[in-house]
C-alpha cells in the first residue's frame, strides 16, 4: 500500500472534568491520501469535530484534553506534542460560523496579510489581492471589516486565509451549515475547484450526507467517538452495513414517497388573502411580505420553503396574530383575525398553536411540565388532571408520562423538549399547528422521530400544519403542498412532488438544484 499523506491510528481524546474523565474520541483510524477528499459524517456529539481539532491541536486547554495515538505525515511520525508545528503549515482549517471566527476589529485584508506574513516573509501586499481573487472576491474587499460582508463572502475570506497557509490538507468543519443553500452551493463549488487546481487534500466534516456525497471520494461514519463504518462514498451510502448508517441514510435521502393529498370538502380552515407587511417607514421601509395568498385545509400540511430573509418566519407570526398585517386578511374558521377586537381574538386564536424553532426558549423556566400543560388545558376548557396530562405526554412518546410532570423543560433533551412543545399544542385543542423550523439544528435521527410523530398525530386527529423550513427535501418528504417564498412573495405553490420534480419558477429551480441531497 502506498504511503498516505496523513495516517492517523488509534487516535483518542479524553477530557478530564474533576475526578471523572470523558472519552470524546475513542480510538479512530483515518487515512487521507495526497489530493484525496475524505468526509466524516455523524451527529452532534459523535466526536467528528473533536477529532479534527485534535489533529490541529486546537482543543480548549481548559477542558484538559489528553490526546493519544500515532499520527504519520508522509510516512513520518509526528509527536502529539509537536502537532502545533503542523497546523497552519501542512494543515489549514475553515470553520462553521465565519462571523465569529474572524476578528471583528480588523480589516479582512489585514487578517489575511498576517497569515501570509507568517508563512512567507517576503510576500508583498499584492499576495493578499491574489488570494482574494482566488476565492472570487475583489481586491477592494481587503478594506472591509467582517461585519460589512455577507456570510458567503466571510467564508471566502476564511478560505483565503487557509490558502495563505499553503497547506496540503484543508480541514473544513461544517463550512456551509450557517449559509443558505444557494450560497452553500457556491462555496462548495469553490472548495472543489481550489482543491483540484492546487492538489490539496480535503477533510470535510458534516452532518449533511448530501454535502458529503457531492464533495468526497471516501467517507467515515462516526458514532459516539468511534468510526463505525468507512469506505468509498458510493459503497457506504448504497450498501450500508451498520443500522445507524442505514437510519441516517433513510432520513437524509430523496427516497421519501410523496404523501397522498387528502380530500377536503369543508373548505379551508385557514385562509390568507393579499397579506402584506412593511417594517420601518420612509426611506428605510422594508416590504417583508407582499400579497400572500394561502389556503390550509383540515388534515393537510403546507410547507413554507425559503431562504433566510424570504419572510417565512414573519408570515408565521402574522398567521399566529403575533404581528398584525398592514394589508389583507387572515381568516381562521371563518373569523377574520386581524379585524377582531383584542378580547375576541384571544378566544378565536386558540384554535391554532405554535411550535417554535428553539425549544429551549419555548417554556417559562419557572413552570414545571405540570404547570405548562395545565395552562394549555385551561384554554381548551379541560380540567387539568394528572391523568389527562400523562395521556398527552404519552401521545408524544414521552412515556411513562407521570414522572415528567414534576420536571422542568430545561431538564429535557432538545428532542424531548420539541415533543413537549407538540404535547402543549395538542393540549390547547388546536386544529392548526404552526411550526417554525421545528427541526433545524436537530440531528437526523431526532428529525425522523419528530416527523413520524407529527404524521401520526395528523392521521389521528386530522390536524392541519403550517410547516416552515429552509430544507426543501424535508418539505418534500413531509408536506402535502409546498409554497416557495422569495423576497416576501410566494413565487410558486402546489403539490409537493410537482414542485420538486417540475419546478416552474426560476428561483425554485435554483433552490432545488442547489439543495444537496443524497442521491442513491
Amino acid at each position: 500500500m502506498e504511503t498516505a499523506f496523513l495516517d492517523v491510528e488509534n487516535l483518542g481524546v479524553t477530557y478530564r472534568a474533576g475526578d471523572r474523565s470523558v472519552v470524546a474520541v475513542g480510538g479512530v483510524d483515518i487515512r487521507i491520501g495526497q489530493g484525496e477528499s475524505v468526509g466524516i459524517v455523524g451527529e452532534s456529539g459523535s466526536g467528528k469535530s473533536t477529532f479534527a481539532r485534535a489533529i490541529m491541536d486546537l482543543l480548549p486547554a481548559s477542558a484538559q484534553p489528553a490526546i493519544t495515538g500515532t499520527i504519520r505525515l508522509d510516512g513520518k511520525d509526528v509527536k502529539i506534542a509537536d502537532l502545533h508545528r503542523v497546523r497552519g503549515r501542512d494543515f489549514a482549517m475553515v470553520f462553521q460560523d465565519p462571523l465569529s471566527y474572524l476578528d471583528p476589529l480588523m480589516r479582512v485584508g489585514d487578517q489575511i496579510a498576517e497569515v501570509v506574513h507568517v508563512h512567507d516573509r517576503k510576500a508583498g501586499r499584492d499576495r493578499v489581492g491574489e488570494l482574494l481573487e482566488m476565492v472570487q472576491l475583489q481586491r477592494t474587499h481587503a478594506r472591509f471589516y467582517p461585519h460589512e460582508l455577507s456570510g458567503g463572502m466571510r467564508q471566502r475570506v476564511m478560505i483565503a486565509m487557509a490558502l495563505a497557509c499553503k497547506a496540503r490538507l484543508l480541514i473544513a468543519d461544517e463550512p456551509t451549515t450557517a449559509l443558505d443553500v444557494t450560497t452553500q452551493k457556491e462555496i462548495l463549488l469553490l472548495i472543489a475547484r481550489l482543491r483540484r487546481d492546487l492538489g490539496m487534500s480535503l477533510l470535510l466534516i458534516s452532518h449533511d450526507l448530501g454535502v458529503v456525497s457531492e464533495m468526497c471520494e471516501r467517507v467515515y461514519v462516526m458514532l459516539r467517538g468511534k468510526v463505525i463504518e468507512s469506505g468509498p462514498v458510493r459503497d457506504v451510502f448504497r450498501t450500508p452495513r451498520h443500522d445507524y448508517t442505514r437510519a441516517l441514510i433513510a432520513a437524509g435521502s430523496d427516497q421519501a414517497k410523496p404523501l397522498p393529498v387528502p380530500v377536503h370538502d369543508n373548505g379551508p380552515i385557514l385562509t390568507l388573502r393579499g397579506v402584506g407587511k412593511t417594517f420601518g417607514s420612509g426611506a428605510s421601509a422594508f416590504r417583508v411580505l407582499d400579497g400572500i395568498d394561502l389556503d390550509l385545509h383540515q388534515g393537510e400540511t403546507v410547507a413554507l420553503v425559503g431562504e433566510s430573509g424570504s419572510g417565512k418566519s414573519t408570515l408565521a407570526r402574522v398567521i399566529l396574530s403575533l404581528i398584525a398585517p398592514d394589508q389583507g386578511d387572515v381568516t381562521l374558521n371563518g373569523q377574520v383575525l386581524n379585524k377582531l377586537p383584542a378580547a375576541a381574538l384571544q378566544k378565536a386564536r386558540s384554535a391554532m398553536y405554535p411550535v417554535f424553532q428553539d425549544s429551549s426558549e419555548a417554556f417559562n423556566p419557572r413552570r414545571n411540565i405540570r404547570g405548562v400543560l395545565s395552562q394549555a388545558l385551561d384554554v381548551a376548557g379541560v380540567p387539568a388532571r394528572d391523568a389527562a396530562m400523562t395521556a398527552l405526554l404519552e401521545q408524544v412518546q414521552l412515556r411513562p408520562g407521570q414522572p415528567y410532570l414534576d420536571r422542568f423543560a430545561h431538564e429535557l433533551s432538545g428532542g424531548q423538549r420539541q415533543r413537549l412543545a407538540i404535547a402543549r399544542a395538542l393540549a390547547t385543542g388546536a386544529e392548526v399547528i404552526v411550526a417554525d423550523e421545528p427541526l433545524s439544528g436537530a440531528d437526523l435521527s431526532i428529525r425522523a422521530l419528530v416527523v413520524d410523530l407529527l404524521r401520526q398525530l395528523q392521521a389521528d386527529r386530522s390536524l392541519a400544519y403550517i410547516f416552515i423550513t429552509h430544507d426543501i427535501w424535508l418539505a418534500h418528504s413531509f408536506a402535502h403542498r409546498i409554497a416557495v417564498m422569495y423576497k416576501g412573495r410566494i413565487v410558486e405553490e402546489g403539490p409537493a412532488d410537482a414542485i420538486i420534480r417540475h419546478p416552474k419558477h426560476d428561483y425554485t429551480r435554483k433552490l432545488v438544484a442547489a439543495a444537496p441531497v443524497l442521491k442513491l
Partner: protein, 288 residues
C-alpha cells in the same frame, strides 16, 4: 423518584434546590449570620443601653479595656455603646433605601421594558441623567442645602439608586419578552398585563434582587460618607459621624477611628457577599 416530591407550587423544586445550595455554602452562612447578628445589635442594643448613648461613663480617651471594651471618646462616652446606636442608623438607612429603590426600579423598569417605545425612551433618558451625576456629591449638596434628617437621607439615597435597578430590570424584561415562551403564552390567550406580571416579571427578578442587596451596601457607605463630611444631625448616632470626630484624635485615640470604620466595612462586606452568593445561586453559569 421525581414523582415522590410533592408539588406544592409550580416552582418548588427549583427553589428547594437553590435553598440547599445556599445553605451548603459557608460564605453564604457566614454573611447571612453576620447580617442577622447586626440586625440583633441594632434592635436590642439600644434597648439594653437605653439612655446611655451620651452618658459620660468614665474618663475621656481611655483605650480599650475590660471596663469599656472599645475605649471612650474625647468626652468620655463609651465607643461600643455609641456603635450599637450607630448600627441602627446604618441598617435602617441601608435597608429602607434599598427596598424602596428596588421596588420603584422594578415597577419603572418593567413598564419601560414592556411598554411602548416612547415610555422606554423617556425612562432611559432619565436614568442616563442620573448616571452622570455623582451620587455622593449630589446627596451632600442636597443635604447641606435642605438640612439633615434620617428620613430625608433615606429618600435621597433611594432617589439616587432606583435608576440602576430600573435599567437592569428593563434589560431583563426586554430580553425575556423576545423569548418564544412569551409568544406561546400570547397564543394561549393571555392578556398583555397577565403576561407581564405572570410570565415575564418573575423571571426577571433574580438579578434585580441581587442588585438590591448590593444597594444596601452602597446606601450604608453613602450614609457613612455624608456623616463623615458632617452632614447628619448632631443628635443621631452614626458610624460615619464617629469617624468624623475621630479625625481630630489620630494621635491620642486610634480606637475612635478604627472600630467604627471596621463596623462599616464588615456590614457592607456581609451584604455584598450575600448579594454575590444570591447571584451565583440564581445563575449557576455566572463565574464572576
Amino acid at each position: 423518584m421525581q414523582s415522590s416530591i410533592p408539588a406544592s407550587g409550580p416552582d418548588t423544586r427549583v427553589r428547594d434546590r437553590r435553598l440547599v445550595r445556599l445553605l451548603s455554602s459557608s460564605v453564604a452562612i457566614l454573611s447571612f449570620g453576620v447580617i442577622l447578628v447586626l440586625l440583633g445589635c441594632a434592635v436590642i442594643g439600644p434597648i439594653v443601653y437605653s439612655g446611655q448613648e451620651l452618658a459620660l461613663t468614665s474618663a475621656s480617651l481611655v483605650p480599650p479595656s475590660g471596663q469599656s471594651w472599645l475605649g471612650t471618646d474625647e468626652l468620655g462616652r463609651d465607643v461600643f455603646v455609641q456603635m450599637l446606636f450607630g448600627s441602627r442608623t446604618s441598617l435602617l438607612v441601608g435597608v429602607a433605601a434599598a427596598v424602596s429603590a428596588t421596588l420603584v426600579g422594578i415597577a419603572i423598569g418593567a413598564i419601560a421594558g414592556f411598554g411602548s417605545n416612547r415610555v422606554d425612551t423617556v425612562v432611559m433618558r432619565v436614568t442616563e441623567i442620573f448616571q452622570v451625576m455623582p451620587s455622593f456629591v449630589l446627596a451632600a449638596v442636597i443635604v447641606a442645602l435642605w438640612g439633615p434628617g434620617t428620613m430625608r437621607i433615606i429618600l435621597i439615597i433611594a432617589i439616587l439608586s432606583w435608576p440602576q435597578t430600573a435599567r437592569l430590570m428593563r434589560g431583563e424584561v426586554l430580553r425575556i419578552k423576545s423569548l418564544d415562551y412569551v409568544n406561546a403564552a400570547r397564543c394561549l390567550g393571555m392578556t398583555e398585563t397577565q403576561i407581564l406580571w405572570r410570565e415575564v416579571v418573575p423571571n426577571a427578578l433574580a438579578p434585580v434582587l441581587t442588585v438590591g442587596t448590593l444597594i444596601v451596601g452602597q446606601a450604608i457607605l453613602l450614609e457613612a460618607g455624608l456623616a463623615f463630611f458632617g452632614l447628619t444631625s448632631p443628635d443621631v448616632a452614626s458610624w460615619g459621624k464617629m469617624l468624623n470626630s475621630g479625625q481630630r484624635f489620630f494621635y491620642q485615640g486610634w480606637w475612635l477611628s478604627v472600630f467604627p470604620g471596621l463596623a462599616i466595612f464588615v456590614t457592607v462586606l456581609a451584604f455584598n457577599l450575600a448579594g454575590d452568593k444570591v447571584a451565583e445561586i440564581f445563575n449557576p453559569r455566572s463565574e464572576d
